[in-house]
Amino acid sequence: MSARATIEQARREGRAALIGYLPVGFPDVATSVAAMRAMVAGGVDVVEVGLPYSDPLMDGPLIQRATEAALAGGVTPADGLTAVREVAAPALVMTYWTLVDRYGVARFAADLAAAGGAGAITPDLIPDEAAAWHAAADDHGLDRVHLVAPTSTPERLTLAARSSRGFLYAASLMGVTGERDVVSTTAKDLVARAKEVTDLPVCVGLGVGTGTQAAEVAAFADGVIVGSAFVRALMDAPDPASGVAAVEAVARELAAGVRKPSGVEA
């Protein structure tokens, strides 16, 4: 199933979809892939496979530390494609654009499609700069997910929505990745503004980490995107096996959250 079909299926079940991010290669490639599979076993519907990059200027300290370690271990974009191949759910690559630029846009699209990938999320590739990517993604039937932010004007929201396929990624707050104590109040408003200009599913990321927060976001968004909470589960674990188990447990909590929208505590 495509990412969009999966998210729409969740909507028919009366819930939001759960989208989980992990960077490939942390703490090593095999464990990261096992953790992505565990995430799916725990209830994640769509997987974001992160490609570690040396200058992750949209990431907070936690993901920085994980991706720095992955790079020190020698991870490459090809490992990301391996992860895509092994995850039993729609998988999108999440990448800083320079890595694709270097890999070759057309070659990246071809290899990603061949690996069974659904598409890519491009947090530092705004639609204005994305002509080559759009063409390559179209050639291979890949999703192209752009981001919108609280500062996006109506014109920018429309541009991002028109340029996206799969879903639209609403970055819920102004800032970098990382867990927050409370879900940003700007998220709901941003989703409402996005919904005015598009029929695409709108999924919310940045700062969601607990089942309660997932439930809150599920009340107004089509999908809940979680990254740092999974990374923390791996990072805090004493060994890889318990890290993978912890990731699955986090996924279960979040999956329960997206199934009881409106923020009501169980």
Binding site: I126, A149, A171, M174
Partner: protein, 409 residues
């Protein structure tokens, strides 16, 4: 592209693209701020009140115009060519960085923002930003790599004296590029009240063009001064290139004088062939760094590689997009100068002319020695002496062993 390059004067190019270089590779969250900035700086440049205010600050505070000093004793080591130094080291705070910091700080007021953030390598841009912020009543936060804080300690103290908060950056290589990452993270979080005062002609559009606009005063003054002094234009203009702001600042006025050769000197570190250098044009590949497409030091997978230079201000693995383009169209030449050659030129200027240059600027001086030898006694070489070397005395003392018993004879 080439047709356009021939039709429009080179000085008329304002981005967002310079050939295939430049653009905006940034999160959507920053687009609104970049649009606001783009409009604000273009308005400011055509606003007589803004320009009068900036001009007044230049004259009464920065110390502009900076003078030209002829360096005849140094020139004996440079083939006898006339060597003319554009003395940006004499500006208040000791480098060209103040030209840009003052312009952008004024813009910050214009945009109604109250806080500026900056990255700094050598500390000169951090000091310039802290100075402009103190003068204009803005809050200032400066990000600086831990490695650079150690090698440019004097400037850390200066920034703190001026009331800026200096935040050590401990990620990645702990130098300029990591400081820039951290500043970007701050900006995306606090963009509502904060202006990111980028210190070089790099970053996403409109920064490369805007920083050039605030630095082009260097070349405009120098062109007039050289004409008055020598009766003709120089044969060669030399400038060091980190991100490229002092170089584009002095090059700009000469872009449409085809008889004037423009030479950018990159930091060659231990030598480009060793891989331990910061020469992005000479030894890098096409990539994206800090929001623009340009030449970047990167590995086969597109990961940024650590740069190496004895000069903190040139220790950056990218280069401004306009330089990448000037290289591609052949309008400027870029050459590496290794640490040893830079330090030799540094020592030579101290002893022949009584001027202690910044180690960054010493790279331009080393280039001028080579150009002067090529041109011979009829040649004129204009050098951008982008900064003074007070901040570098520790590095120089260690390099030359000056604190050892019996040294300095």
């Amino acid at each position: 592209m080439h047709g356009q390059a021939v039709r429009t004067p080179l000085t008329g190019r304002t981005g967002p693209y310079f050939g295939g270089f430049g653009g905006r590779f940034i999160p959507e969250a920053l687009v609104a701020a970049l649009e606001e900035l783009d409009a604000a700086y273009r308005d400011a440049l055509s606003d007589p009140d803004f320009m009068a205010r900036l001009d007044e600050l230049h004259r009464t505070y920065v110390g502009r115009p900076s003078v030209i000093t002829e360096a005849p004793r140094f020139a004996r080591h440079a083939g006898g060519a006339r060597i003319l130094l554009k003395r940006e080291d004499l500006n208040h705070t000791g480098a060209h960085k103040i030209n840009n910091a003052m312009g952008q700080a004024l813009l910050t007021l214009q945009m109604g923002k109250t806080r500026v953030i900056a990255e700094t390598g050598a500390g000169q841009h951090g000091v310039a930003t802290a100075t402009a912020a103190a003068l204009l009543g803005l809050d200032a936060v400066v990000y600086m790599g831990e490695v650079d804080m150690r090698r440019q300690e004097l400037n850390v103290v200066r920034m703190r004296l001026l009331g800026a908060e200096v935040i050590p950056v401990t990620s990645g290589s702990r130098t300029l590029k990591d400081a820039m990452n951290e500043a970007m993270r701050d900006w995306v979080t606090n963009v509502e009240n904060t202006h990111y005062l980028i210190g070089s002609a790099a970053g996403p559009h409109p920064f490369p063009t805007m920083v050039r606009a605030f630095q082009q005063v260097i070349g405009e003054e120098a062109r007039r001064q050289v004409l008055a002094l020598a009766g003709r234009l120089p044969d060669v203009v030399c400038a060091c290139v980190g991100g490229g702001s002092n170089a584009i600042g002095i090059f700009h006025a000469f872009l449409d004088d085809p008889e004037v050769e423009l030479v950018g000197l990159e930091a060659g570190g231990d030598g480009v062939e060793t891989g331990r250098h910061a020469a992005s044009v000479s030894g890098g590949a096409l990539g994206i760094l800090h929001g623009n497409r340009t030449y970047v030091l990167q590995d086969a997978h597109g990961q940024t590689m650590e740069s190496h230079s004895i000069s903190a201000g040139l220790d950056y693995p990218g280069v401004g997009p306009q330089h990448a383009w000037l290289h591609d169209i052949g309008r400027a030449r870029y050459r590496p100068v290794d640490d040893a050659a830079a330090m030799e030129a540094f020592a030579l200027l101290c002893r022949t002319e009584g001027i202690i240059p910044a180690i960054e600027s010493a790279h331009a001086l080393a280039g001028a020695i080579q150009e002067g030898r090529r041109l011979g006694p009829d040649g004129i070489v204009l050098v951008n002496l982008s900064g003074r070397g007070d901040k570098d005395v520790d590095t120089a003392a260690r390099y030359f062993g000056l604190l050892e018993e019996g040294s300095g004879s």
